[in-house]
Symmetry: none
Subunit: 234 residues, 2 copies
DNA sequence: GCAAATTAATGATTTATTCAAG
DNA sequence: CTTGAATAAATCATTAATTTGC
């Protein structure tokens, strides 16, 4: 209701009041700064139980366990009474199986370099049959593999240092210079198959990702998405 | 269970066997302008309960399910009698409002540098009251802002005298050497509030993100997630 | 005054670098 | 050492402010 919107406004106003300098900031943008209005966005907050938006929680997330040499201002408290982020089961880092690696390498050989969200989704689903895996693993794998192939190439061109290892996929083709693309970009907004549904009361908006997969992965596998452009850039 | 794995196995094997023919050596994709709309993996079949995992669709994304404005020159501008861009009027990139910028800058000043997923979620929810925004926008904003502030600083230190016009907020805290952290990493897997549910028949696994937000923004707002570690690194 | 051309700023992606687990 | 994970740097792409010509 109006109440809630008021809340937000209050919050915002509070912020600004809190920072006198902010006014400066507002007029600071030299060039592209238009007296743009917030548009109707505000209107949209019709009935809402506004979220807390607790600044403190932002600045000093409970998750800030150890702070290395931060030494920044903002004292922190090292509490962690509520591990809100349940340490996901599975523990550490992804350890790909042979099958997974095989598929990934094949895809790479085929030319895949930066799969988009949709593709990653599918790949992940398939590789999941061979072992626990998440989208980010696929995402990172391609990034790392690409970068390291390039590195390897560069290195080999320089001084051929012994490269004893490498379970070389026999018959592997040298992937020479498969890159250096003209770099054409599309810059489109990413797209995922996400639906937004207004829902019951919920002080904060929560994101729920539902993956309707066939097999029952151990209930509760988290699925992460990430920023990816829809079409492979190239 | 065994069933599905077997199937996958088949699939995988198929891929490998396919490999030779797929060598895209010849299919130079200088221009991914794929006329072929074969899209839809969705359309595909369902012949098997197993997902398609169509390699072709991977290599040749065509991902533009819809709205893919195709890429470039080439016959674009095709009408669209229905200006009904289901994409929001802003269609393209995020254009922050003053309020949004103000809040973000404040948070930055407060010391926030790399908000974690949870934080971003909250920030996004709040900023959403002032205008359309997605998590990735917040994520990028912090990255860009941080990088550009650093850039600015470096430049000013190198160049001539210290910037005379610094609108330095009186008594404002020094921007501190907020960088060059010892780089301590936590290496945790990102976490978002995602749930996985096995679901009804569906040839392909699809991801559905449900945001139970209050305001009903034009139905169908896409929500993207991104890779973020749960706790701010530092 | 308005609209095309120019330009500054900045949003969005990719690449390079780095840290740390095994 | 190898490589998964994460961030920072570099780069591209698009928008809005400004300029220019009428």
């Amino acid at each position: 209701m109006g109440m809630s919107s008021m809340k937000v406004h209050q919050f915002a106003r509070g912020l600004w009041e809190h920072e006198p300098s902010l006014t400066l900031g507002c007029t600071k943008r030299l060039r592209p700064l238009a007296p743009r209005l917030a548009n109707t966005a505000a209107a949209s907050d019709t009935t809402t139980t506004l979220a807390p938006f607790d600044l403190k929680s932002f600045i000093r997330p409970d998750s800030g366990p150890r702070k290395l040499g931060s030494s920044n201002q903002l004292q922190e408290k090292k509490d962690s009474p509520h591990p809100q982020v349940e340490t996901h089961p599975g523990g550490t880092r992804w350890n790909p199986t042979q099958e997974q690696i095989g598929i990934l390498e094949m895809l790479y050989r085929e030319g895949m370099r930066t799969p988009n969200a949709q593709q990653i989704e599918q790949i992940t689903a398939q590789l999941g049959k061979y072992g626990k895996i998440e989208g980010k693993n696929v995402f990172y794998w391609f990034q790392n593999h690409k970068a390291r192939e390039r590195q390897k190439q560069k290195r080999s061109s320089l001084g051929l240092s012994h490269s004893p290892r490498t379970p070389t996929p026999l018959g592997e083709v040298v992937v020479e210079r498969e890159e250096d693309n003209p770099y054409k970009r599309k810059c489109r907004s990413w797209e995922f198959d996400c639906l937004v549904e207004g829902d019951h009361s919920s002080s904060t908006s929560s994101v729920v990702c539902k993956l309707d997969n066939d097999d029952a992965v151990e209930g509760g596998r988290t699925l992460e998405l990430f920023p990816l452009h829809p079409e492979g850039r190239r």
